[in-house]
């Protein structure tokens, strides 16, 4: 299967190179290299959005976890609807704010809106986590998959460097537009392949394991039930929950962490640099909440059952290859392709955003467009080199660091909600919330626990205590601190600036949620959905369709009750996202903004330093020697 696999991956690499070349050739200005001329086509947002959501989960990891924990982990697929909901709430307003203020990244927007350099630095930290450790983890995984699929004919190290080189060449030729094309095309391929392998496995594999006996999990793990609403245990590594770690609270808080994808620096950069009309709405409703969540929810268990019955992902790949070599190759391409989306997108967006936010702003201000393009290429080279080195030599560190990525990204939610909707959320509130939330995340994730326990003493809790994901711990503390501090500082010095942006929102694209009753209905329905689909109410799904409450008897619906529950709330979830995105106009852009506003007036160099004082002092120390 090795020659066929290498040829197929080679064709995909050449395809990416071709897209990058035609895009690079037609770039009108050198400055378009970093932002695609802020005119990416709608189809890129539509497909890439869904692909990135899927790739951020890690398809290979998702299938392996589904095979280990059964349908309790399938709640994560329902959680993708939270990504769509969060995108519906924020994506259009971020795009609008960028057009109103002529800023190009979320970091710049938040920094100027709240007047905070700390927020810019936090955004850069999150960007760094996405573009280096997270991408490195995906690259290491892709290398391992190619190595396993080729029976070690292609060593994982070689695969890692070959993949990194191919993606780097595409990115450095095509710029941001080229990267976006490649990511969108691969996303479409991966989504089609997920659905294809659901059908293909169903028709070609004899005695489908899912139909025969469900997912065979190891002893002590409930294969088709959620193991309780919450379990009062110390956490993974100390006292793992009984029956599996995916309690209702674990599912809910993990879904909240997925919202970190929608407000990540890269994902928001994709939205800002596009020229959508209805693309945001289509992407959120039909692609993320509809196709991606549905494909994972329905196809995932079928594939996971086969993987569980054959012990491993590689064994299933070999089994497919014995049925048909090309099918084995296709499955390997599906898994590797999903990793490639994450690597290309997060490394590429990381380099572009870094060029705009760090290089152009602080390191070498006043660059001309050609120099900016050169700087972006240098950034791409540095990012890809770092990613490949870490993936080759420190994959475990990459995994530990990347466990923080989504949880820290979602800590920006209060800040982004402030930018988009809630003008009284103040800078002090956001910063306090971020500090508290970050501490909670770090000390409920493996990174903080390992570091603290190695340096000081053993902590009494493990990872995800009380079966709650670190993002959940962080968000509870973050929101509590942010709202409390904002209550007392809501009329601080920055209020004028915040009001200016929100008034411009009202002038350009006012929210149209309908009458107060309709607005209440929309948000109540959303909360009810969250309660029953992901929250404590999801526990009802364990037996709701197999042991109906009022019938007093046991029925055999043919599939586990929990799966029916999940599918039911998937449909309801799509309806809610549609209602908000289309009917509520949260994601439909009717008109381009006609006015421009300046959040921060140009500094007068006679009276105000152009660079933030402490950064200027730091730079002086380095450059003055």
């Amino acid at each position: 299967m090795t020659p066929l696999l290498v040829s197929t991956l080679g064709i995909i690499a050449v395809f990416g190179l071709y897209l990058a070349t035609i895009s690079g050739r037609q770039a009108q200005q050198a400055s378009d290299f970093v932002d695609g001329g802020q005119a990416l086509p709608p189809w890129v947002v539509i497909f890439a959005g869904a692909g990135i959501a899927l790739a951020s989960l890690g398809l290979a990891d998702h299938l392996a976890l589904l095979a280990t924990f059964g349908l309790q982990y399938n709640q994560v697929a329902v959680g993708l609807i939270v990504v769509a909901l969060c995108a519906a709430l924020t994506q259009k307003r971020i795009w609008l704010a960028a057009r109103l203020t002529d800023l190009r990244t979320l970091g710049d927007l938040l920094g100027d809106y709240f007047g905070s350099t700390t927020l810019r630095i936090f955004m850069l930290v999150v960007l760094f986590l996405f573009s280096i450790p997270f991408a490195a983890m995906c690259l290491a995984q892709a290398g391992a998959l190619v190595g396993a699929a080729s029976g070690a004919d292609v060593p994982p190290g070689l695969a890692i460097w070959a993949i990194a080189f191919a993606l780097f060449v595409s990115s450095v030729i095509g710029g941001w537009r080229g990267i976006a094309y490649v990511v969108a095309a691969q996303s479409l391929l991966v989504i089609v392949l997920v659905m294809f392998f659901g059908g293909f496995t169903g028709f070609t594999v004899e005695k489908l394991a899912f139909a025969a006996g469900g997912i065979w999990t190891s002893a002590g793990i409930l294969p088709d039930k959620i193991p309780g609403v919450i379990q009062f245990t110390a956490g993974i590594g100390k006292a793992p929950p009984i029956g599996g770690i995916w309690t209702a609270f674990a599912g809910l808080t993990f879904a909240l962490s997925l919202a970190g994808i929608a407000i990540s620096p890269g994902f928001s950069f994709l939205g800002i640099t596009s020229k959508p009309h209805r693309a945001f709405a289509f992407s959120q409703v039909w692609m993320i909440a509809g196709v991606t969540a549905g494909a994972l929810m329905l196809v995932g268990p079928v594939l996971a059952a086969e993987i569980a019955s054959g012990e491993s992902l590689t064994a299933f790949m070999s089994r497919l290859a014995t049925i048909d070599q090309m099918a084995g190759v296709g499955f390997a391409v599906l898994l590797v392709g999903s990793a490639l989306i994450a690597i290309a997108f997060f490394a590429g967006s990381g380099a572009c955003v870094c060029t705009i936010e760090l290089t152009s702003r602080y390191l070498v201000p006043g660059m001309d467009p050609r120099t900016i393009r050169f700087a972006a290429r240098v950034a791409l080279a540095a990012v890809y080199a770092a990613v490949a080195v870490i993936a080759s030599y420190a994959p475990l560190s990459a995994t530990i660091f990347s466990s923080l990525t989504l949880s820290l990204s979602v800590q920006l939610l209060p800040a982004v909600l402030g930018l988009c909707w809630v003008r009284w959320i103040s800078r002090s509130g956001v910063l306090t919330g971020l500090i508290v939330g970050t501490l909670f995340v770090v000390f409920t994730e493996s990174f903080g626990l390992i570091l603290f326990e190695r340096l000081f003493v053993e902590l009494p809790w493990g990872r995800w205590p009380l079966s709650m994901h670190s993002a959940g711990w962080g968000l509870i503390a973050n929101f509590a601190a942010c709202l409390l501090v904002s209550l007392f500082t809501r009329s601080d010095a920055g209020r004028d600036r915040r009001d200016r942006l929100h008034e411009a929102f009202e002038e350009s694209e006012p929210a149209r949620l309908g009458s107060p009753a309709a607005t209440t209905a929309k948000w109540s329905l959303t909360l009810l959905w969250a309660f029953f689909a992901l929250g404590p109410g999801a526990i009802l799904g364990n037996t709701f369709f197999s042991e109906p409450i009022f019938a007093g008897t046991v029925v055999a619906p043919g599939v586990p009750s929990l799966l029916i529950w999940q599918v039911l709330f998937w449909f309801v979830g799509i309806f809610i996202v549609w209602w908000l995105a289309y009917r509520g106009r949260l994601s439909v852009i009717d008109d381009l903004p006609r006015c421009r506003i300046k959040l921060v007036p140009d500094p007068n160099p006679l009276f105000e330093p152009i660079t933030t004082p402490w950064i200027a002092r730091l730079l002086n120390r380095v450059t003055g020697r």
Binding site: T8, I12, F15, Y18, L19, I22, S23, Q26, Q28, G37, A39, P41, W43, V44, F47, Y181, A184, A185, L188, L189, I191, V192, L193, F196, F200, T204, I323, D324, Q325, M326, A327, G330, V333
Partner: protein
């Protein structure tokens, strides 16, 4: 139909390529399995995957308000022709292949051709669709133009 701007043409081309990539890999798997253990149903599914790619291409054309470019038409005809020739030659050379695959492949090729013709007729009408492939008429009109241009020079 208005000609597309530079960026729009690039966007359309990239989307068309993405659609064909997504259709081609499942089609290749289905054909490969169909020629082996799978048999006729999988060969039909392979053709269905190719037709899905074609339908996606038509949808892209509709979204961008364009038609097929001459290069796309040429490439499509070459691939279809090459596939057809390969099928006929293999059927003539290998009796087991013909016995196993002749019916599904010929049905597949006929249906693919029929779908393309159906699209052309519904898109352009019967007359225009025929004129698009009327090589003799093109040849004659070319001859007429040449004689006219030489006359003008004289």
């Amino acid at each position: 139909m208005t000609p597309l701007g530079k960026n729009d043409a690039l966007d359309r081309h990239a989307l068309v390529m993405a659609c064909w990539l997504a259709a081609a890999l499942p089609a290749a798997i289905l054909f490969d399995y169909g020629f082996g253990q799978g048999g006729a149903p999988y060969l039909f599914c392979g053709f269905a995957a190719v037709l899905t790619g074609f339908v996606a291409h038509v949808i892209v054309n509709a979204v961008y308000a364009t038609g097929f470019s001459p290069r796309e038409l040429g490439l499509g005809l070459i691939i279809y022709g090459a596939g057809l020739i390969a099928f006929v030659m293999t059927s003539l050379v290998s009796a087991p292949f013909a016995a196993h695959n002749f019916m599904p492949l010929s049905v597949g090729f006929i249906v693919t051709g029929a779908v393309v013709i159906f699209y052309l007729i519904t898109r352009f009408g019967a007359r225009q669709a025929f004129e698009g492939f009327d090589a003799i008429r093109d040849f004659r009109s070319g001859e007429r133009d040449r004689s006219r241009s030489t006359g003008a020079r004289e």
